[in-house]
Symmetry: C2
Subunit: 377 residues, 2 copies
C-alpha cells in the first residue's frame, strides 16, 4: 500500500496518514522543501535530515536543463547524485515552462519552449516528462499539465483542461507498463485543473479519478486568485477526490495557508517560501514573522524563536544573524533557511498530532492567530 489513511479529524476534513515509499515512510500532512536544482538552497542533505525532512521536491525542468537527466541517469539517479536517502517528488516541468511566457507554444502533443539558459528549443510531451522522471528516479512523479494562469476565462480553462486530461490519459497509459530504472517504486500523480470554475474542476477531478492514479494534485491555484477562492476550490476538489488517495496542493504556501488547506483535506505541500524568504532575511516563528534585518534586532541577544529547538535557535542570536545579513555572509542564509524549514516541518508535524488527537480545529485557530503576527521584539 502506498497511501495509508490513519485518521480523519472528527470536526474537519483534516487527515493524518502515511505515504509508504521505498525511500521511507512519510507522515502526512507533510511539507516538501523545494530542491530546484538538486539541492534545497543552502542546505546539505544532513541538514534536511536533522530537521526531519522525509521528502523533498526536485524540478524536472531545471534538472533536464542542467545537468541533464541523462547525466543524472549515468550517475545512478537523483537520489545518489544529490546524496539524499529519503523520498523525492519531481514536478512535471509544466509550471516552469508556462512561466517562460514569451518563449513557449502549446499544441496537442505538448509544449514547445526555449531554454532560459541558452535559448535552445525543446518540447515537453507527456512521454518525455515521464522519461525524464524515470531517469531521475523520483519516488513520486507528476503528469504534464497546463497550469492555467489567473485570470483565465471559462472557455480557455475548459479547452486547457481538455488538453490536460488528454495528456493525463497518455501518461496513465505509459505508467500502466512502468519500468523503474533503479529498483524502487515510482508513483504517478494526476493534476486537477479547471481554474476557478467548479464544473471544470469537477470534470477534471472525476476524469482523473477514472484513470486511477496513485495520488492526485490540485494545480492551478496560488497563482494570483483571492485566498478565499483558493480555499473554496481546494475544498471543492477534496470533496470529489477519493479518500484513500493522497492529495497534494501544489505551490502552497504561507504557514497559515497550509493549516487552512490541511483543514480542507490536503495531505501534501511544497513551496519556496521558507527557503526564499530565509534568503531575504524573513523568518517564521511560533509568534509570527520576523524581518531579521530590522534595526530593532541590532542588539537582540535572543534567538529567532526562544521556543525553537533548531541548531540556529540553539546557538545564535538575532543580533548575530542580522550582522551576517549586513555583512553579506552566506552563513546567515544557511542558518535562516535551516530554521524556516525546521519551522514548516515542525508545524505540519504538530498539525498531524492535533489531527490524531481530534483537536485540530482548536489547535489550528490558536496557532494561526500567533503565526500570522509580526514579531516586534
Amino acid at each position: 500500500m502506498f497511501f495509508e489513511l490513519a485518521h480523519t479529524d472528527t470536526q474537519t476534513k483534516a487527515r493524518a496518514g502515511w505515504l509508504h515509499t521505498d525511500h521511507g515512510d512519510i507522515p502526512t500532512p507533510i511539507f516538501m522543501p523545494v530542491g530546484t536544482q538538486g539541492t534545497v538552497k543552502t542546505l546539505a542533505p544532513r541538514n534536511l535530515e536533522e530537521v526531519n525532512a522525509s521528502i523533498i521536491l526536485g524540478n524536472t525542468y531545471h534538472l533536464y536543463m542542467r545537468p541533464g537527466h541523462s547525466l543524472i541517469r549515468e550517475m545512478g539517479g537523483l537520489h545518489r547524485f544529490i546524496s539524499w536517502p529519503k523520498a523525492i517528488l519531481t514536478d512535471s516541468g509544466g509550471f516552469q515552462v508556462f512561466s517562460l511566457k514569451e518563449l513557449r507554444k502549446i499544441d496537442e502533443e505538448g509544449i514547445v519552449f526555449q531554454s532560459h539558459l541558452d535559448g535552445s528549443r525543446h518540447k515537453f510531451t507527456p512521454q518525455l516528462v515521464l522519461e525524464i522522471q524515470q531517469y531521475l528516479g523520483s519516488d513520486i512523479m507528476m503528469v504534464l499539465d497546463e497550469c492555467t494562469p489567473y485570470p483565465s476565462d471559462r472557455e480557455y480553462a475548459q479547452k486547457s483542461n481538455e488538453l490536460t486530461l488528454k495528456w493525463a490519459a497518455e501518461a496513465r497509459e505509459i505508467y500502466a507498463n512502468w519500468q523503474p530504472l533503479y529498483g524502487h517504486r515510482q508513483f504517478l500523480f494526476g493534476i486537477v485543473q479547471g481554474s476557478i470554475y467548479k464544473e471544470i474542476r469537477e470534470a477534471s477531478a472525476k476524469a482523473l479519478v477514472d484513470l486511477d492514479f496513485p495520488g492526485y494534485a490540485i494545480g492551478g491555484l496560488a497563482v494570483g486568485e483571492p485566498k478565499q477562492v483558493m480555499f473554496e476550490m481546494t475544498d471543492f476538489c477534496t470533496d470529489i477526490l477519493p479518500e484513500q488517495k493522497p492529495r497534494y496542493l501544489m505551490g502552497v504556501g504561507m504557514p497559515d495557508d497550509i493549516l487552512n488547506a490541511i483543514e480542507r483535506g490536503v495531505d501534501m505541500f511544497d513551496c519556496v517560501i521558507p527557503t526564499r524568504n530565509a534568503r531575504n532575511g524573513t523568518v517564521f516563528t511560533s509568534q509570527g514573522k520576523m524581518v531579521l534585518k530590522a534595526a530593532r534586532f541590532k542588539k537582540d541577544a535572543q534567538p529567532i524563536d526562544p521556543d525553537c529547538t533548531c541548531y540556529t535557535c540553539q546557538n545564535f542570536s538575532r543580533a548575530y544573524l542580522r550582522h551576517l545579513y549586513n555583512a553579506n555572509e552566506i552563513l546567515g542564509l544557511h542558518l535562516a533557511t535551516l530554521h524556516n524549514v525546521h519551522f514548516y516541518l515542525n508545524l505540519v508535524s504538530q498539525a498531524r498530532q492535533a489531527i490524531l488527537q481530534d483537536r485540530f480545529k482548536e489547535w489550528k485557530e490558536e496557532t494561526v492567530k500567533k503565526i500570522t503576527q509580526v514579531v516586534e521584539n
Copy 2:
C-alpha cells in the same frame, strides 16, 4: 604555561608543541581558518569543529567596522557572539588598513584611515587596537604594526620598523597591566618586520624579544616577494626568536608553503587560500589541486579525494559539485570550503605526527611532491 614545546625534529627545525588557552589546547603546528567578519565563510561553528579546527582567526578591522567592537562587548564577546567555543586569534587591523592605500596616513601615534564601507575617518593606535581586541576577547591578540609593502627600500623599511617597535613597546606596556573582560586569558604577540633586510629583521626580532611577548609573529612576508626570499627571511627570524615561544608566519599560504615554513621552525599559520579558493571552485587533495569546474569532471562519480574522510568526500561526487558551481548553488561553496579546511587541518596534523616521529623531512618531501601536482582525472 601558554606554549609548550613538545619536540623538535632531529633533522630540521620543525617543532611540535601545544598552545594552552582557556578555550582549549591547540596542537602545533596549526592552521587557523580565517573568519574575517565573525564567520569562516560558508561554515557554521559545528562544521569547524567536525574538521578539528582548534583556533580560528578574526579580523579586528572588519569587526570594528561592522558590527562594531562595542556591540560585540554587549553581546558578551566574540566567542559568544559567533557561538565558537574554541580559541580565537585576532589580528591588529593594521594589514587591512594598509591595504586601503589611498585612504590612510601614518604618523607617530598611529594610522588614520577611511572606512571601505562609508568613507568615515578613523585612527588606529596601539592603544585602540588593544582595546578593540579586549572587547572582542580573543585568546591571542596582535600588536599594531606597519606591514611594509614589497618592494620597500632599506631606508623605508628601517624607518617603518622603528615605528613598529615604538608601537610594540607601547602595546607591551599596556599589556603589563592587562585586565581581560570575560575571565579568560588573552596573550599578546609582537610582530617582526624588516622587509627583506636581514639586519632590520634582526633588530626587530631582538627588540621584540627584549620586550618579552608571549608569542611572536613574522609579518611583512607573502606580500609579493619571491618564495625563496620569504623562506630565507623566515629561516633567519626563527633562528633569533626564542625556542620557548610560539612563532606565527602571518598570511602563509599554499599547502606546500606551510610545510616548508614548518621545516623552518614556524608553529602557526593563517591564510584565506583554502576558503577563498573553495569559493572559486579550486580544491586541494592528497594528489594535488583540482579545478572542480573543469569539463573533465562532468561525469566523474569519484569524490574530490577518494582518500579524504570529510563529509563532502564521503557523500558527493565531483560531477555533483561541478553541477552546483554551474548552477550557482551556495551548497557547492559550503561543501568545497569544508573539504579545503579539512585538508589544511589534516595536513598540519600529519606534519605534527611526522615531527613527533622524527620523519618530518622525508614525509614533507614526499607530500610536497604529491600536493603540488594538478589532478587531471
